[in-house]
Amino acid sequence: MKRRDTLKAISVASLGMAVGPVEAAVPEPPDTKPAVKLLPGRQKFEAERDAKLLASEKFFTPAELQTVTILGDIIIPADAKSGSASQAGVPAFIDFMMRDQPRSQTPMRGGLRWLDTKCVSRYGNLFAKCTKEQQIDMVEQIAYPGKKVPSDLTQGVAFFTMMRNFVMGGFYTSKMGIDDLGYVGNTPNKWEGVPEDVLKQYGLSYDEPKK
């Protein structure tokens, strides 16, 4: 395919033309699960595995999901520029990763349990039932891996670090997170070099020094 044709094909696809007008006019049949959409280029075993995983039961219990959602939004809250982790669908992504890579299940489930037992002993309530102030108070104890903490909190620090990594990874690979960072690539273009004003800003140039 020539570059020109590729550009054309891409622009058509980006208009969402996959569904033609006739099909679009027919209402969706009610109460059916949406068809699982897989990435192209899957090997047979991958396609089967993905279809099964996507249709499988959620890993988190409703109570765990609530805790994950609260923690996610503490780590990545909404601000002036973008939304929060839960608004970017991060809890569902983490749930999928638990099913996709089961080695994370025990640290995750156990860590959530650790958090709840610690909150019960400190505040008399499960993490999700604590007040916002209590939740932040708890998080403050475990959010800084460089700080020395009492020996009954080190596992909590490890858990929160893991949770932070999952939340960051989920948020910044979502559309919302990518827009927040300002990544503007992944589109056909012509690379002409660093913009002139940026070269100037850094005192660099493309001219070879005279040898």
């Binding site: 590729t6 990435l39 280029g41 932070r164 960051m168 690979t173 990518i178 690539g185 070099g193 940026v198």
Partner: protein
């Protein structure tokens, strides 16, 4: 179905080519263009990067449920390699303390679908290291033998680069290189300032169109996903599919070759047997010539598994050398954070897949404590976020003053963390050394006496240990990386790997540049193939992947595989014309 009924094909082809990667693809292309009837056997499935059903190019991370994580493929969900270091049902083993990691791609085009497109010629010195240094071995051919073929590969396939007139980095017929990205300009300035050269990289990516069949690069940085415009080199799109279009190629996918068949009387190759991986049907197919391009270790495995009364040690192995001298590139890497790049202006700097500049080997080994060189590949910039993005932020954000100039504790959460991510985005650089090892007889693959794969084919067992030569080279890499990062005002990230970690030297096989198991040479007692990659013992048997290579230079070997396979193909055509085969 009777599994034990072996179907015999009635056709006798001019040639059977095993494997559709760089070497096999080139042989199939050259021979079919010359009018020969060729059967190309590929163990994996069909793949065409221009067919939307295979296309992951220009997909977003959120189009993968795992955001591109490497759960089922080593390079992640978007990577075009079907396979990896582990393939279900296709095991291999290593002797204790001699681990080797064997990467295989089971698909049309093999590993050329996801590689870095780094396309360097070997230099004149790379063919005669023994003569120059007293260690290792010379090739039976010289740069002058290869130069015309490198020239033709440049023109046929396309490569960008710059004319530098460096003795051991021969220039080619180059397309214009892309301009360096911002961090690459900074790297260049810093490295050059401390005497380390940085020049445009040499990648087989079309920055200009070269023919009507292939498009031009549209700068998405995703060559490893396969290019829908055929603007980079992969054997599937550039060699195999055009070979099919000649009408002379029969392509058989899902054909796992079991052994090379020989005639007990003449000792010549008559064809191969394979198992269809979908139907499990056993097949025998016949040809006047057999050409192996199954990959360095797979071709050795095939020969070692092709035992008969006449060839009790395996085929083409009267020397006993098959499997030995296995060698992979050395590899070590380091990354750095560059405060000057914080709070960058955003613009699209995807560029081509991989680096726009690199460092060729620049020192004289006679003045160093290790005998061979390495080149440096660079990474960095405002890339598309992928799985794991932002992970490990706690290792950085406690070391960088905030906007208010004050330090804050590492890790954290909330709006401040989000702000860190915006400030730090695109402010990293990475560098990887890729170096030449000394091939050793004691590094080898052999047939595991106890194990078979799911097709019942005996599997490989490896034994590979780095010597002090490679470990000292890795130490030099680490020192150099630190000097470059510091020269550009950056902070080296993580801990510098020391002696106990072999200075970060990657385990054998991890760099996926293995060569050497069916080496060529002039002495049939010490080599399996002659200087045309033709078996000393079996004149109608050839090997065209990197197995014949005596050494690998500090260059990535694909361009040399292509040139050598083209040379072997022409030799074969000539020999057939002269009725020698």
């Amino acid at each position: 179905m009777d599994l034990f009924q072996i179907k015999k094909a009635p056709t006798v082809y001019d040639a059977i080519v095993v494997g559709s990667g760089a070497g096999g693809g080139m042989a199939a292309y050259m021979l079919t263009k010359a009018g020969a009837k060729v059967l190309l056997l590929e163990a994996g499935g069909y793949f065409d990067p221009a067919d939307p059903k295979y296309m992951t190019q220009l997909k977003w991370p959120y189009e993968s449920p795992r955001r591109g994580a490497s759960t089922t493929r080593a390079g992640g969900d978007f990577d075009a390699a079907w396979g990896g270091w582990e393939i279900e049902g296709e095991p291999y083993s290593s002797k204790p303390g001699g681990d080797f990691f064997w990467f295989r791609s089971r698909m049309l085009g093999g590993r050329t679908n996801h590689w870095g497109r780094i396309s360097m010629r070997f230099g004149p010195d790379d063919f005669r290291r023994k003569t120059l240094s007293g260690i290792g071995d010379d090739w039976p051919i010289t740069y002058d033998d290869m130069k015309p073929f490198y020239d033709r590969v440049d023109k046929l396939i396309g490569v960008f680069g710059s004319v530098e007139n460096m003795h051991n980095e021969p220039d080619g017929h180059f397309l214009p290189p892309p301009k360096p990205r911002l961090h690459e300009l900074m790297l260049k300035k810093a490295a050059t300032g401390i005497g380390i050269p940085v020049i445009p990289s040499r990648l087989s990516i079309l920055t200009q169109p070269i023919n009507k069949e292939r498009g031009q690069c549209f700068y998405c940085r995703q060559c490893n996903r396969g290019c829908s415009a055929y603007a980079d080199f992969s054997s599937s799109s550039v060699l195999c599919i055009p070979a099919v279009k000649t009408g002379n190629l029969t392509l058989q996918n899902n054909a796992m070759v079991r052994e090379v068949l020989t005639d007990a009387k003449t000792g010549l190759a008559t064809g191969v047997s394979y198992v269809d991986t979908i139907s499990m049907q056993e097949m025998s197919v016949y040809a006047k010539t057999v050409i192996l391009g199954a990959s360095t270790c797979e071709s050795a495995r095939l020969l070692l598994n092709s035992k008969s009364a006449r060839f009790p040690n395996g085929l083409a192995n009267s020397s006993g050398v098959v499997g030995k001298y296995l060698n992979d590139s050395t590899g070590a890497s380091r990354s750095g954070f560059v405060p000057a790049l914080m709070d960058r202006k955003r613009y699209n700097e995807d560029g081509v897949g991989g680096m726009h500049v690199f460092t060729p080997w620049w020192l004289d080994n006679s003045k160093l404590d290790f005998p061979r060189g390495y080149h440096i590949e660079y990474g960095g910039g405002m890339g598309m976020p992928g799985y794991g993005f932002g992970g490990g932020i706690e290792n950085l954000n406690g070391k960088i003053p905030g906007r208010d100039g004050k330090m804050k504790p590492a890790g954290g959460y909330g709006a401040g963390l989000k702000d860190d991510m915006r400030r730090f985005y695109g402010a990293y650089v990475s560098m990887s050394g890729r170096g030449e090892p000394i091939p050793l007889e004691s590094n080898y693959c052999e047939i595991d006496p106890n194990t078979v794969d799911k097709y019942g084919i005996p599997t490989l067992r490896f034994h590979y240990k780095w010597s002090d030569n490679e470990i000292k080279q890795a130490k030099h890499m680490q020192d150099t990386f630190e000097q470059i990062i510091e020269a550009m005002g950056g902070m080296p990230m993580g801990n510098k790997p020391g002696k106990e970690q072999n200075y970060g030297l990657a385990a054998p096989g991890r760099i996926i540049h293995e060569v050497g198991t069916v080496r060529m040479g002039n002495d049939p007692g010490k080599s399996a193939l002659n200087k045309f990659q033709q078996a000393h013992d079996v004149k109608n048997l050839f090997v065209v992947d990197a197995a014949p290579f005596v050494t690998q230079g500090d260059k990535n070997v694909t361009w040399t595989i292509l040139a050598a396979s083209m040379r072997t193909s022409e030799y074969l055509i000539d020999q057939v014309k002269k009725k020698n085969i």
